[in-house]
């Protein structure tokens, strides 16, 4: 993949039901991800998605871009804002985008990632991955 190539944006939807399911599958039962009362007590805008759920969705975008389900060498994200998930049928939308960077010294592809939700950047500067795929 050539430097500065903009990868196709990928949009994901997260509902409260998805958060409950992720909590069960991951073992992260922190109530800020399912309980409005706890979220409010902790000065949050309401129930928020697990950061690791957002990171998992961005990984899905990486897998689609590279075509390799197991090609990552390194993957890191910065959670710049929480993803608030309203208690309704539509939930929150997370949009993931990526731009190809200079390859690493080992010749691996480097991809910078960004994600936004409700117009705010939720995966911030410094988020990205190194992948074996070219």
């Amino acid at each position: 993949m050539d430097k500065d190539t903009e990868l196709p944006e990928r949009s994901f939807r997260i509902t409260r039901a998805d958060l409950v399911r992720y909590a069960g599958a991951s073992g992260d039962f922190n109530p800020i991800h399912w309980n409005d009362r706890t979220a409010a007590e902790n000065d949050l805008p309401g129930v928020i998605a697990h950061g690791m759920f957002t990171m998992a969705l961005a990984a899905q975008a990486l897998v689609e871009w590279t075509g390799d389900p197991a090609g990552l060498v390194e993957y890191e994200v910065r959670f710049s804002k929480p993803v608030a998930v309203p208690d309704d049928e539509t939930g929150a939308e997370v949009v993931v985008s990526g731009v190809v960077q200079n390859p690493t010294a080992e010749g691996h592809t480097r991809i910078e990632i960004s994600a936004t939700s409700a117009g705010q950047r939720v995966l911030g500067r410094g988020s990205g991955a190194v992948t074996r795929d070219a």
Partner: protein, 148 residues
């Protein structure tokens, strides 16, 4: 209450071995909407050169979170979990996690810093097989938000 900076460098005992099961990987893949056949189907995974079903890239958090429990519960650290949010996350992969792996995690405090009224705790978790083969290194930076 500020975190105790003298705990930088502290390491915690290895966790009990975790057996990675096929159904656990499928359950995790379903929860994140990961549709690739390598995460579900043994023959598809084997056809791409993998020994068994592949775990999605963020799956190791299931294991590292258990190991990090030892850090968060350390009474000498004195962390107020209600004020903790996830700041940064990083994985460095030696190889993918596969169904059938038996993995052990060792966590340690790599960095403790304070800035702008908040505190930052960087936990590093080394994930290895019980045969001591390195699989993935996991870094989680937690933010302990200051009181308003």
């Amino acid at each position: 209450m500020p975190l105790n900076p003298s705990l930088t460098g502290r390491s915690y005992p290895p966790t009990e071995p975790y057996e990675v099961g096929r159904e656990k990987i499928r359950e995790f893949a379903d929860a994140i909407g990961a549709g690739h056949p390598a995460y579900r189907d043994q023959s598809a995974a084997r056809a791409s050169g993998h020994p068994d079903i592949v775990a999605p890239p963020t799956f190791p958090i299931v294991l590292s979170m258990r190991a990090n429990r030892l850090v968060l519960d350390d009474p000498e650290l004195g962390i107020d979990e209600g004020r903790v949010v996830h700041g940064e996350q990083k994985f460095r992969y030696f190889r993918p996690v596969y169904a059938g792996d038996t993995l052990v995690c060792e966590a340690g405090i790599e960095e403790l810093t304070a800035r702008g009224g908040h505190e930052f705790l960087l936990i590093r978790t080394d994930v290895r097989t019980t045969q001591d083969e390195p699989v993935v290194t996991v870094w989680s930076r937690l933010v302990v938000r200051g009181e308003k």
